[in-house]
Amino acid sequence: MTDKPDVERNIERLVEAAFNRDARLAASSRDATYRLLLADLRSRRGVEAFPERLLVLLTVIVVLLTAWLVARLGLGDFTASASPVLPLAAALVVINVAVVPVAALVVVIGRKHVEA
């Protein structure tokens, strides 16, 4: 007689003890944590998907436009007749500034929606 039946029975008992009902996750915890991980994955993916070079380029453009507008304002020459590009530049800078809080709001609401 070999000890194989004992070995097999031991393994079965160990599996039973290791994964008994007490060691199981509550479905609610399981689902909630998965949603958290998914939200985290999505938020990181959004950040990583945006090309860094484009981000730097956009930042440089907005900074240059703002500096140029401020310079025009300092010269007291802030009319469309002085430069036809002026209204366009002003509109771009204003839109850029206005979009920041809106984007923040969208991100916060989106995260709360995923976590709920």
Binding site: D3, V7, E8, I11, L14, A23, L37, D40, A49
Partner: protein
């Protein structure tokens, strides 16, 4: 080696932001990881849930650094050990497993019927969970369904999409694989701690 490659592929897909990969990763590892942490924390569920969630978050953030040197579940258990240590430092409840570790568990499995005292040790159970994490997913699922959930072989067969005989054969191979996995874990452990310390009193 094949399984390790699959682990690495899965990790890279998760790191790349693949939601399907995250779902597979979670389906494969979330439950065993919780069981591992729960046993390491002596059954304290609130602490275990905290440590489990922190471990998964840390794993998700660091999964890009996983290089496939060990199995993915072993890597997760390593993170979990750090989180458990953090919990203990913060004063949370938790049993030190150093004197109960399952160093010679694989040998004990071979020596005859295991005493209930050993089977029910949290350290032993966490070791078994860790060893199960080394098995292919179908082996693990079949073992848990059959011996923890007490499903009939026919039910297990339906669950894994195999025939009755094939499932019996798979269960037999899975048990043998778990025995080897326990041996592997024993070999990786540091000397000087183990259930051999308790062997004398339970014999």
């Amino acid at each position: 080696m094949k399984a390790e490659t699959e682990d690495l592929r899965l990790a890279r897909q998760v790191a790349a932001g693949n939601e399907g990969a995250l779902e597979r990763f979670y389906a494969l590892h979330a439950d065993p990881l919780f069981a591992f942490i729960l046993h390491r924390l002596d059954g304290s569920r609130p602490d275990a849930e905290d440590a489990w969630q922190e471990t998964l978050m840390a794993a998700l953030h660091g999964i890009g650094s996983y290089e496939g040197d060990s199995r993915l579940f072993t890597w997760l258990c390593g993170i979990a050990r750090h989180k458990i240590a953090d919990l203990r430092r913060r004063g949370a409840r938790g049993e030190s497993l150093a004197s109960l570790g399952g160093r010679d568990l694989s040998a004990l499995v071979d020596t005859g019927p295991l005493p209930e005292e050993i089977v029910m040790q949290r350290a032993v159970r966490s070791r078994v969970v860790e060893a199960l994490g080394l098995l292919p997913p179908d082996y693990r699922a079949a073992l848990i369904a059959r011996y923890a959930d007490h499903e009939a072989v026919g039910e297990v067969a339906r669950r894994i999409g195999k025939g009755y005989k094939a499932t019996e054969s798979l269960l037999s191979r899975a048990k043998a694989a778990l025995r080897v996995a326990l041996d592997t874990l024993d070999a990786d452990r540091e000397p000087g701690s183990g259930v051999e310390a308790t062997r004398g009193r339970v014999r």
